[in-house]
Amino acid sequence: MKKKKYWYKLDNAGKIFPAVSKDDRSNVFRLSFYLNETIDPIILEDAVNKILPRFEPFAVQLKNGLFWNYFAFNERKVVVEPEPAQLCKYFKPDHNRGFLFKVYYLDNKITLETFHAITDGSGALHFLKSIVYHYFKLRGIKIDHEGKILSEKPMSKKESEDNFVTNYDKDKRRNLKEEKAYHLEGERFNHHWVLFVKAKVQSKDLIQLVKTKYQCTITQYMTAVLAYSIFKETVDFVGKKKPLKIFVPVNLRPYFDSVTLRNFSLYIKATYDSERTDWTFENMLELTKAQYKDQLDKDKLQSRISSLVGFEKNVFLRVMPLFLKTIAFKIGYKILGESISSTSISNLGLVDVPSGFKGLVTDIDFVNAGYGLAMTLISLEHQTNVILSTPLKDISIINHVISMFVKDGLDLVLDTNYKEGYDEIL
C-alpha cells in the first residue's frame, strides 16, 4: 500500500548538495530519451503524474529542520516544461512546486533533470524508463514491460532505504584524508551554458577495441584516454605539485544487494602524478587498471561508506543548528570537496529496456555537467554514447579525446549543442 505521508532523512551523499549548489555548480544531472515521434506535453505530464506516487523518493520536497534538512512528501502535481538551452540548469525547488527534479520535452526528446540530493544515475534511470513506458501506454502503444519497468512492479520499502546507513560498520571506519588535485581552469561560457559533445560509437567496435588491444574495461580505457588527453593538452599540469585525479562513481547496489532508488554510489579515483613527465597512454592505462583493481573491493568500499557515515554521526556536527551546518558545508566544500577532484567519468552502462522499445526509442543521453570537464557514457541497444561536457571555452582536451578514438579505429558520429553564431552570445 502506498503511504500518504512520509518523510526521509537525507542520505549521506545528498546531505551536502542543498548547501553547496548554485548556478555554476548545479549538482543536477540529465537523462534524455529520444523517441521516434514528437512529444505531446499533455500526455507526458499525465504519464509523470501517474507514476510519481509509485516513486516515493522522487515525490518529495526539501524541508528545513532545526538540525538537518529532510524530505517530506509532496502531494503537488508535476508540470512538464519545454527544455531550456542550458544543460543541467540549476533550479530552486520552490520555483518547481517543491520537486527536486524537472521533466522537459523538446521535439522528440523527453528529458529528466534531477538534483543529486534525491538520487543518483541508476535511480533516475528507473524513473525515466517508467515515464517513457507510461507515455507510450497513454499514447495507446502496448509494450510488454518484461519486468524491466519499475512502475509495473510492486512497490518495495527497500526502494526508499538509505543504504549508506544500513551498511555502516563502526569498526570499519578509517581516515579519509585527500590531497588536493589539479584543476582545469579557463574562460567559461556566459550564462552558465555548458558545451555538449556526444560521440556515438558502435558498442561492439568499442568492446572489441578494449578487449583485444588493451585488455581492459570500457571505463578503464576512457579514464586513461581522458587522463592522457589532459596530460597532453594542458600547459600547467606537469610540474605542478597537484596530481590529476579522475573521480569515477561506482554503483554500489550490486556490491551490497541493494534496490534503493536513493543515492547509493561512491567515487573511486584514478590518480596520476604531475611530477612525472614521461607519461604514455599505455602506462597511464596500466596504472588505471591497477588502481581500479585495488579500489573496487567490497571491504574497501564498505570501509569508505562507514567513514563517511561516521563523519555525519559526529555528535558535534549533529547538534549544530542547520544554518551553521550550511555555512560549514559551504566552506568545507570550497576547501575540500571541489579541490580534491580534477574531473569525473560516469558510466551508466547498457540501459536495459523492454524489447518493445526497439524502434520507438532511438537515442539516449546522460549528462553530468561539472566544473572543468565531465565525461559520461551510456549505451542503448548496439550504440554507446560518450558525452563530454564542459563550461570551459577551451576544447583542446575534447579534441584530443576524439582524435584518440579515431586513431584507435573507432567510427564516430558527433552531435553537439553548439551552433554557429554562439560565439557572439556566449
Partner: protein, 220 residues
C-alpha cells in the same frame, strides 16, 4: 550526415564547420539534419540592476555617516538613513529568495521590528518601538499564522517553522518587562501571554501528525 575529412568524424548536427578543427564539413547524402537542443538566446544582464541597487545603498550609508561625523555632532540622522538603507537591502533579499509566503512574512516582520528598534535607539527614544510596535507587530504575526493554520489544517506543517520562531520571539517583550526595559507594560504582557500559550499549545496539545512533525523538524 556531414563529414570532416580532417578529423575523420561524421556529424548528425546541422552545422557547417567542424567544432574540433573549424574545417568545412562535407555533406553525405540528402538527409535533413535537425538541431536537438533549445536555441540559446542573448540574455539581458538582469543582475546589473540588483548590483546597482546594492551599490547605491552602500554608498548612501558611507556618505551619510561621513557627513554626519564630519559635522562633529553625535550621529543621528545618518544612522536613520543607514538603517533604512540596510533594511532595504535585507528586505529585497528576503522577498526575492523563493520560499513560502508565511516564511517571508515572518522574516519581514522580524527585520522591520529590528529596524524600528534600531531607529529608536539611534534617536535615543526607543520606548515607543519596544513598548508598542514590537509587541503588537509580533502579536499580529502570531495571530495571522494561527488563523492560517486553523483555516488550512492540511498544510499546517508548512507554517510550523514560522509559528515556532515568532512565538519564541514573542516571549522577548515579557523578558524586557521583567528587566524593566519597557515603560508601558500591558502590550508586552499581552504579547508574552499569547506567545506563551501558543507555544504551550504547540507542545502540550500535539496530535499524531504534529508529533510526527516535531520528529521531522528536530531529528538529529
Amino acid at each position: 550526415m556531414k563529414y570532416c575529412k580532417t578529423c575523420h568524424v561524421h556529424y548528425d548536427t546541422p552545422i557547417d564547420h567542424c567544432i574540433l578543427c573549424n574545417g568545412e564539413l562535407e555533406s553525405e547524402g540528402s538527409e535533413v539534419l535537425t538541431y536537438k537542443f533549445s536555441e540559446m538566446q542573448k540574455k539581458p544582464a538582469s543582475r546589473l540592476f540588483i548590483r546597482i541597487f546594492y551599490f547605491l545603498n552602500i554608498v548612501s550609508v558611507i556618505v551619510s555617516l561621513y557627513l554626519d561625523f564630519a559635522d562633529g555632532l553625535p550621529l543621528e540622522w545618518s544612522l536613520i538613513v543607514s538603517i533604512t538603507n540596510l533594511y532595504a537591502i535585507a528586505m529585497f533579499i528576503t522577498l526575492t529568495v523563493p520560499t513560502i509566503w508565511t516564511s517571508k512574512l515572518t522574516k519581514s516582520i522580524i527585520l522591520t521590528v529590528l529596524s524600528v528598534i534600531l531607529i529608536g535607539l539611534s534617536i535615543r527614544d526607543y520606548a515607543w518601538a519596544i513598548d508598542i510596535v514590537f509587541p503588537f507587530v509580533v502579536l499580529s504575526n502570531i495571530l495571522i499564522i494561527t488563523i492560517l493554520i486553523l483555516a488550512n489544517k492540511k498544510k499546517w506543517f508548512d507554517y510550523f517553522s514560522s509559528l515556532l520562531v515568532i512565538t519564541i520571539i514573542g516571549l522577548i517583550p515579557g523578558l524586557l518587562n521583567l528587566f524593566r526595559v519597557t515603560t508601558l507594560q500591558w502590550p508586552s504582557l499581552i504579547c508574552f501571554a499569547y506567545s506563551a500559550f501558543t507555544l504551550i499549545g504547540i507542545f502540550i496539545l500535539p496530535s499524531k501528525s504534529s508529533r510526527e512533525e516535531f520528529k521531522r523538524r528536530f531529528h538529529i
